[in-house]
């Protein structure tokens, strides 16, 4: 794909891609920006190449999910091995929302984020992809790198758990 076309397509997806990066990074804004930059870099320098087997959006989301996993692993390495931080570069600062933003955050949104945080990573990913990104369960399975059956199970169980948690939160 020519570089100009790739940039245009990425620009169209940018807002949803950032939302997905946020979800992959537990809503840590700074980490999400870091992951998104690393993902764009992979796409722009050709390390991640779109081969047309899925939709472009599914492909980009898959790259973001893999990059987020790499960043998490690197962060773990940094904490567990001395001098690793020097070799791997500085760790992104905690990008949680500032107090003003946190206060302004709608109550319902805050409840949803708390409830999502209590789900398993896979359940959270599948629900986010289906409800937030409007992907089908099959597309979500592709992005999360699991089979369709597994994605369906995560979707059903995650949805039930999320409803229960939201009800608990509102009581």
């Amino acid at each position: 794909m020519p570089s100009a076309d790739l940039t245009d397509q990425l620009e169209q997806l940018h807002v949803t891609a950032f939302g997905w990066a946020l979800s992959c990074c537990d809503w840590d804004r700074s980490a999400a920006e870091d992951v998104l930059q690393a993902s764009y870099l992979k796409l722009l320098d050709g390390r991640a190449r779109f081969d047309g087997r899925s939709s472009f959006r599914t492909f980009v989301f898959g790259v973001i999910a893999r990059t987020a996993r790499e960043v998490r692993r690197r962060a773990l390495l940094r904490r567990s091995i001395p001098l690793a931080s020097w070799l791997l570069g500085p760790e992104p600062v905690d990008g949680g929302p500032d107090p003003a933003t946190a206060l302004a955050r709608a109550d319902e949104t805050a409840r949803l984020m708390r409830a999502l945080g209590r789900l398993s990573v896979r359940q959270r990913q599948v629900l986010h992809l289906v409800f937030y990104e409007d992907l089908t369960i099959a597309e979500a399975a592709d992005v999360a790198g699991v089979s369709l059956g597994t994605a369906r199970t995560h979707y059903e169980r995650g949805k039930a758990a999320l409803k229960r948690l939201l009800e608990e939160e509102s009581e």
């Binding site: 990425l10 940018h14 920006e33 870099l41 070799l87 709608a106 949803l112 999320l162 409803k163």
Partner: protein
């Protein structure tokens, strides 16, 4: 009931999406930052390669210098010979007769002088 629940979830996620969209960094800025990382990464790799190279050069030069200085450790066995306290048990009576050369002519001479 199920559909209503799903609609409720969809609305909640929609609110989350609106909030996240409002705080999305500009696309051009993200791409520019990604490209800046691209140029910073080789610099880091170059720095790492330089450090490793310097360490190898240091190790090689130190070992060469030590070899030139006669760094091989030579031990004079005569000076470090150790004697066990029980060595005397290995000495046999008349041991010195076996170690010395018999002098055959000496006894006849002695007899002559007597």
């Amino acid at each position: 009931m199920k559909e209503r629940d799903d609609r409720h979830l969809k609305q909640a996620f929609e609110a989350l999406r609106r909030e996240a969209a409002a705080g999305t960094p500009p696309f051009q800025g993200t791409v520019a930052a990604a490209r800046a990382r691209h140029t910073a990464a080789p610099r880091r790799a170059l720095g790492l390669a330089a450090v490793v190279g310097a360490a190898i050069v240091a190790v090689v030069s130190v070992s060469t210098w030590r070899a030139r200085q006669g760094g091989r450790l030579e031990i004079d066995l005569a000076t470090v010979r150790w004697q066990a306290p029980t060595d005397f048990l290995l000495k046999l009576p008349g041991d010195e007769l076996l170690r010395s050369v018999p002098q055959l002519g000496l006894r006849s001479n002695d007899r002559g002088t007597l």
